[in-house]
């Protein structure tokens, strides 16, 4: 049974369809890259999937639980890292870990928190307030926080923005490791070379609709006009008509 099932997802804002009839399945251990031009509905899809915004219609199952009807078990299975890290200004790094550990009932929260901080090179910043962290540090900490309760599905919206090259490499490794451990990872990004590097499967969205999905080779096979060595950027441009734009 797939870990994530999205059936006919629709999200409308004032009559405008941000996500249009989207169907998707995601297995455990897979890293799915979500790409598309600006306004394609990537962030809206991820926010619907993480339960932040209610869909206009359609159904989302996470780990077999309906996100709307079985809110608590569905949310227990997932973690979301937004593109803009918004932490609680009055809570230190340690406080954030304590709150999340209690919310998700992570009994070994303290030990796991320390492990994650060490893994993301943040051990020295345990007593720091968010305002004392750089953007990259915040981003890393948000991911550490998301991993604290060992989610089955990790959703990341533009996770590599603001990271230095070393942190970026570290992040790529981490995401691949997570997938190897059996976690499903869903990443949206405009950095196509990185998506190509870390994702097993790719979903291309345009105007809220799925225009292509599959592994890079599968997608490439569906576009005979492109040669066999075409990278994701070429595929993306071809699929979304980016080449036609001035």
């Amino acid at each position: 049974m797939p870990l994530v099932q999205i059936n006919k997802l629709v999200k409308e804002y004032d009559g405008l369809r941000a996500v249009d009839d989207l169907d998707l399945e995601l297995e455990a251990g897979v890293v799915l890259g979500l790409v598309g031009p600006n306004g394609a509905g990537k962030t809206t899809t991820l926010r619907c999937l993480s339960g932040i915004i209610p869909p206009t219609s359609g159904c989302i199952l996470v780990n077999g639980h309906d996100l709307e009807k079985e809110r608590v078990p569905a949310r227990r299975a997932l973690a979301f890292v937004p593109d803009e890290p918004r932490l609680f200004e009055d809570l230190t790094v340690r406080d954030h870990l304590a709150v999340v550990a209690r919310l998700y009932g992570v009994t070994d929260g303290r030990r796991r928190g320390a492990e994650l901080l060490a893994r993301f090179d943040l051990s020295e910043r345990e007593e720091a307030y968010p305002s004392e962290l750089s953007r990259g540090m915040k981003q890393k900490f948000m991911i550490a926080l998301a991993l604290l309760h060992r989610p089955r599905l990790l959703i990341l919206d533009e996770p590599l923005t603001g990271l230095d090259p070393a942190a970026m490499r570290h992040m790529k490794r981490t995401l691949q490791e997570m997938a190897r451990e059996g976690m499903a990872v869903m990443v949206s990004s405009h950095m196509l070379h990185l998506v190509e590097e870390i994702c097993d499967r790719i979903l291309i969205l345009q105007k809220g609709q799925k225009i292509m999905q599959g592994s890079l080779s599968e997608i490439r096979a569906r576009l005979p006009a492109l040669d066999a060595s075409a990278d994701l950027e070429e595929i993306f441009m071809h699929a979304t008509g980016g080449d036609d734009q001035p």
Partner: protein
């Protein structure tokens, strides 16, 4: 000012207004507006009714008259002023000048200041890079304050103005002049502080010493002159005999006639003189000085040589990220950062994490430490006065001072304490992913303010108990016996229990009411923020301004209605119990007080639960992307 800046100002205002109006397309906002307007009409309509002067009912609001039997009696501020002697108005004028003098001196002596320009980061980025003179940017920043000043003047003229429409228009203009002057003076003061900081070293020290010395000397001289005038005025008041109103009038007239005080306060008297002008001619003449002061202040501010750009940008950035005041409250040292309201264990109810987080946002001091400090303070209040020749009046004052906070903190809990959804909604993206049902999340959000209000109320009740105990202890130490109470002896005749026990039982009876009232008050605010997120200001800071005023009015109206609905059944139940005792001829035992408290609180508790469930449902359907969620 540059035309483009006018354009920017007008377009910004129009944009803000349009954004608000667009919200009215949603029925709940429209209903909210109608309710708010009705509420406003009730309050504003009454003073406006005075202008209309119509109506033949027993209560003629228009003329400020009420019919008692066959006679018409005037009421309201105008009627009160009519009864006072002519000279009394000068005394009132003088008292206002005294308050102003004190406020200005303390304001100048205060060590804090803010940058001259309080603009948003995006505004500053646009303006500082544009080909505009510094003066034009300052004028733009000052103009940004005007909508608030105009609204404040309107409200002042509605509630404080008296007389006909032209008189009220005159009052409105003067209120605007006064508030604008205060705004400019305040900006000038910030400028002075900034320049002093810039000068640094001995120059800054010298300036501060001169300022402190000058202000101190002025206050001492004015205080001495006032004290002398007070003695004379008291003698004049004594001449009025038993007529209290005439006594107050004579006192004020006596104060107003003091020449030294009038000389010392002359500039401030001149600034508010138009408020007290009795004829159009006097009003026109009195306007001259405040207008000249306004022009002078404006020139003072816009001609500043101070470099404000860096400070303004830094401030805007800070405001964009978080509140400066909050950051100051954060401990810098490691141990301080580890302090927490109570130890948060990883296992157990997840709601506790939210309560813990919200309490931590208020203070890192542990609840146990707070309780210990509170008990220590109560012990001091009990013991120290008991060993001193403390008059009974002091104890009464302390007891009365302790009596208000329980009621106020409980009723106003939602307005006073904001560490709930109004802060957390800014983090809706995080909260919405938490594995908690809506009602449990809202209950946890409501709990923080309720705990804070209950702690304050408990401390206040402790102060009352401490005052009573200390008074008894003092009598005991003086050999007058331990039975001397602050309550009249007749009251104790009905209370068949020893005083300490009776006081504790009374507190136990009040506490459930405090908790229930605070829960209703806080739940309403949390429901309001979920129903009208576009209207409720988010973030930790309480803000002033028209929007906040309107919001407070609407929420206060809702609170009153809800409290009335919740209190009536509780009071009926309590009344039934009291009535039953009366019929049976049995007095109510102090042991029944806690039960009565719980019975009265029960319907309120049910109501708070209902509100939380409603807010929980709303939270589950809440769509942060469809709302404007910002601190602006």
């Amino acid at each position: 000012m540059n035309r483009a800046l006018w354009e920017l100002q007008i377009r910004s205002l129009r944009g803000r207004l349009m954004r608000r109006l667009r919200l009215l397309r949603q029925p709940r906002y429209l209903i909210g507006l109608v309710a708010g307007l009705a509420w406003m009409a009730f309050w504003v309509g009454r003073p406006l009714g005075r202008l209309a002067g119509r109506g033949d009912s027993g209560l003629q609001l228009g003329n400020g008259m009420v019919r008692v039997g066959d006679n018409w009696v005037r009421f309201g501020p105008a009627a009160l002023l009519e009864k006072l002697p002519a000279g009394a108005l000068e005394g009132v004028h003088l008292l206002i000048a005294v308050i102003l003098a004190l406020a200005i001196c303390l304001w100048w002596l205060a060590p804090w200041h803010r940058p001259v320009l309080r603009l948003r980061e995006e505004e500053l980025s646009l303006l500082l890079a544009a080909p505009l003179s510094r003066r034009q940017i300052i004028q733009y920043a000052l103009l940004r304050h005007q909508p608030g000043i105009l609204f404040g003047s309107f409200i002042m003229s509605i509630f404080l103005g008296v007389g006909s429409l032209p008189q009220r228009l005159g009052f409105f203009f003067m209120a605007w002049l006064f508030l604008s002057l205060w705004d400019l003076h305040s900006t000038a003061r910030h400028l002075w502080h900034a320049r002093t900081l810039e000068a640094g070293g001995m120059v800054a020290l010298h300036r501060r010493i001169w300022l402190a010395g000058g202000a101190g000397l002025y206050l001492v001289a004015t205080g001495a002159a006032l004290y002398s005038a007070h003695a004379t005025a008291l003698a004049a008041a004594a001449g009025a005999g038993d007529d209290m109103l005439a006594g107050v009038g004579n006192y004020l007239a006596g104060l107003g006639s003091s020449v030294p005080v009038t000389i010392l306060l002359a500039p401030l008297l001149a600034m508010v003189a138009p408020f007290f002008a009795t004829t159009p001619m006097a009003y026109g003449i009195a306007l001259a000085l405040p207008l000249a002061a306004l022009v002078a202040h404006h020139a003072w501010v816009v001609r500043t040589p101070r470099l404000f750009e860096d400070a303004a940008l830094e401030q805007a950035r800070k405001r964009g990220r978080s509140r400066k005041r909050d950051r100051r409250q954060r401990p810098r040292w490691k141990l301080g950062r580890r302090r927490q309201p109570f130890p948060l264990l990883p296992g157990g109810l997840p709601e506790v994490a939210i309560i813990w987080k919200n309490l931590l946002q208020v203070s890192r001091l542990g609840l146990g430490t707070k309780a210990a400090l509170g008990l220590g303070a109560l012990l001091l209040v009990t013991l120290v006065p008991a060993f001193l020749p403390t008059p009974t009046k002091f104890y009464l004052m302390v007891a009365i001072a302790g009596a208000f906070p329980p009621a106020i903190t409980a009723l106003m809990c939602g307005l006073i304490y904001r560490h709930d959804l109004r802060v957390d909604l800014l983090h809706a993206d995080i909260l919405r992913t938490w594995p908690l049902s809506g009602s449990r999340l809202v209950a946890a959000e409501v709990a923080g303010p309720v705990i804070s209000a209950t702690l304050v109320a408990s401390l206040s009740m402790g102060i009352m108990i401490a005052a009573e105990t200390s008074h008894r202890l003092q009598a005991l130490l003086a050999g007058r016996g331990g039975g001397q109470s602050l309550l009249p002896a007749e009251a104790w005749a009905y209370i068949h229990a020893p005083a300490p026990l009776a006081m504790l039982l009374a507190a136990a009876g009040i506490l459930p009411l405090v908790v229930a009232l605070a829960a209703v008050s806080s739940a309403i605010q949390n429901l309001a923020v979920l129903v009208f997120p576009g209207w409720v200001r988010l973030g930790k800071q309480r803000r002033s301004g028209a929007a906040q005023f309107g919001q407070n009015l609407v929420v206060s109206a809702a609170l009153m209605i809800t409290l009335a609905i919740g209190l009536i059944p509780g009071l009926l139940v309590a009344g039934l119990v009291v009535g039953l005792h009366y019929v049976l001829g049995v007095s109510i035992s102090p042991w029944e007080w806690p039960v009565l408290g719980i019975l009265t609180a029960l319907p309120l508790g049910v109501e708070a639960t209902g509100l939380i469930l409603l807010a929980g449902k709303r939270w589950e359907r809440f769509d942060p992307s469809a709302q404007t969620l910002s601190e602006d």
